[in-house]
């Protein structure tokens, strides 16, 4: 593990706890200068988020969806990332944990994490309209930025071609 991991015992404890509880469902942990990333199986997302919340990551800075189909090693999946941060715990404040999972591209359904992180509400709505990810249990899953009459595929999917940019 790199120096960041050793630098903060609290962060190390949180990652250790994830490893212990999730077991095989934790698919990988990256800790380096570029990013702190935790990959979990899609079934373990809620559990992982609850652990992170318990360990002090009290809010999300955003939710990102990535369509992986156009990568060089193409995958028929949508990657979902929750950028979790800490406000109340000063020791964890310098770190942002990126909790990531992969959803099948044909049926991207994921449980909503609004109950764990209320701050995810609008970010999940944006990911819903921009990438077509359906968040089950979201209190108000409807369009946010796109117009009401938008009827094309979700625009941040890689197969959406913006008009005039062919």
């Amino acid at each position: 593990m790199s120096e960041l991991h050793g630098a903060n015992p609290k962060l190390a404890a949180a990652l250790e706890r994830l490893k212990m509880v999730l077991g095989d469902k934790l698919q990988g942990v990256t800790v380096d200068k570029k990013i702190i990333k935790v990959n979990v199986a899609s079934g373990a997302l809620v559990e992982a988020a609850a652990i992170l919340k318990e360990m002090g990551f009290d809010h999300v800075k955003g939710v990102t969806g990535i369509d992986l189909i156009a990568l060089k090693q193409s995958e028929n999946a949508i990657e979902l990332i929750y950028h979790a941060g800490a406000y109340l715990d000063g020791e964890l404040a310098p770190y942002v944990v990126n909790l990531s999972t992969k959803l099948p591209r044909d049926r991207p359904v994921s449980p909503s994490l609004v109950k764990i992180w209320p701050s995810a509400e609008y970010h999940e709505r944006e990911t819903y309209e921009m990438l077509g990810v359906v968040f089950e249990g979201h209190p108000k899953l409807k369009r946010l930025l796109l117009p009401e009459w938008w009827s094309d595929i979700p625009p941040l999917r890689k197969d959406y071609r913006p008009p005039g940019r062919e």
Partner: protein, 407 residues
């Protein structure tokens, strides 16, 4: 795409339910295209739901069809008064991916530009705060004084607002040593007027450092007037105190940023928590209040301007010599495959980028995590149960910028 004439429009909000529904906006309710759908019963707000998206331009999609450098000019557009703050984390993220660090002079110039933009943006905050409450004078004052900041920004970056000054690997151009004498002459009159001091020809010359330090002095002096005009104003206090109150636990749960966060007693500032570029070399305070209301947010913003001036003085005095940019291709830089997350403290709050590269000349995915978007959730949360006259304070006290959350 559906055929023309067949498109279905779902206007869901004006129909049923208790109370009366009205639309606050979308034609510039104070600033920016934004609609707040408010449901009221008598004078009491039952629900205030934000409806953003009127200026959504699909920046994230745009990023995927432009190269790493040609993304710079449009990425600073979300908040033009704070274009430095908007761009900062993008450059940091791309540099992380490339595994490079800009030269020291670039680090200082970037921080300097970011602080100047922060002051400019906070001036705008106070200008519009006044307008929202029916006080037009702050608008004129703020824009008048902001002009001297803008002059300095133009001198450093070449443009008044959207200067595209930052690039991954440094800054676009170095700062010149001599300020045009015309600018100094113009400034000298106003400086004497505001501060009562008459600087001699050797004190205030066309030397960049001397000029910039005097501009900082001038703004510092003017801020005293602002305290009397806005923050010590009985009308302002009575309209904002106790409105939109949030406790530390609430702001943490909502993930609010910027003045909203710091007015509620949480000392969180990326410049301190995770210092980037020159911020590890400068000393400053993070202003924090515990009231968490509309007034406390204004006071925090006011004190932040003072702290920014402190930082500006230290940066100018410690500005190192040397190159201002890494040696690289001006348009086409190589970014290895990978992903990076970077953040910086913009004027409106914590700004972050998630950037993914697949090794080609264009980004695979750029995620813009804008501070205003994160604060959006504060409006419905604090709006409930307030009075109609409190809506402007609930909206504007959080230091919003509609174009920024629409992207």
């Amino acid at each position: 795409m559906q055929e023309e004439g067949q498109e279905s429009r779902e206007i869901y909000i004006y129909d049923t339910g208790e109370g009366l529904v009205f639309s606050y906006g979308p034609q510039h309710p104070g600033t920016g295209h934004f609609r707040l759908i408010v449901r009221v019963l008598g004078d009491t707000v039952l629900e205030a739901e934000p409806d953003p998206g009127f200026v959504h331009r699909g920046e994230e999609k745009m990023c995927e069809s432009k190269t790493w450098i040609t993304n710079v000019p449009h990425l600073e557009r979300p908040a033009i008064l704070d274009s430095a703050g908007m761009l900062y984390p993008y450059c940091l993220a791309v540099e992380k991916l490339m595994g490079v660090e800009p030269p020291p002079r670039a680090k200082y110039l970037r921080a300097l530009m970011a602080e100047l933009n922060r002051i400019g943006s906070h001036f705008y905050y106070f200008a519009l705060y006044g307008v929202f409450l029916g006080l037009p004078t702050p608008f004129l004052w703020c824009f008048g004084d902001r002009e001297f900041i803008v002059d300095l920004v133009q001198f450093i970056g070449g443009q008044r607002i959207t200067h595209s000054y930052f690039v991954p690997g440094g800054v676009r151009n170095d700062v010149l040593a001599r300020v045009p004498p015309r600018l100094v002459q113009h400034f000298r009159t106003w400086y004497s007027e505001a501060t009562g001091k008459r600087p001699s020809e050797s004190e205030l010359t066309d030397d960049f450092r001397k000029y910039a330090l005097h501009v900082a002095d001038f703004i510092d002096c003017r801020l005293d007037y602002y305290w009397d005009l806005i923050l010590d104003n009985a009308i302002f206090i009575s309209r904002t105190r106790g409105v939109g109150r949030l406790t530390p636990d609430e702001v943490a749960a909502l993930g609010a940023v910027g003045v909203t966060l710091r007015a509620s007693g949480l000392r969180r500032d990326v410049r301190v928590d995770e210092p980037y570029d020159a911020y590890s070399d400068v000393k400053f305070e993070v202003p924090v209040l515990t009231e968490g209301d509309g007034y406390a947010r204004a006071v925090v913003a006011f004190r932040e301007m003072r702290e920014s001036l402190k930082i500006i003085r230290q940066l100018i005095e410690g500005l190192p010599d040397g190159p201002f940019k890494l040696k690289q291709h001006p348009i086409n830089i190589r970014v290895p495959a990978g992903e990076a997350f970077a953040r910086a403290e913009a004027a409106h709050g914590e700004m972050a980028y998630y950037v993914r590269s697949d090794g080609s000349d264009k980004p695979y995915r750029v995620r813009i995590l804008a501070p205003s978007f994160r604060n959006l959730i504060v409006i419905p949360y604090t709006g409930r149960g307030k009075r109609i006259a409190d809506i402007p304070v609930i909206y504007w006290s959080n230091n919003f910028w509609p174009v920024e959350w629409d992207r």
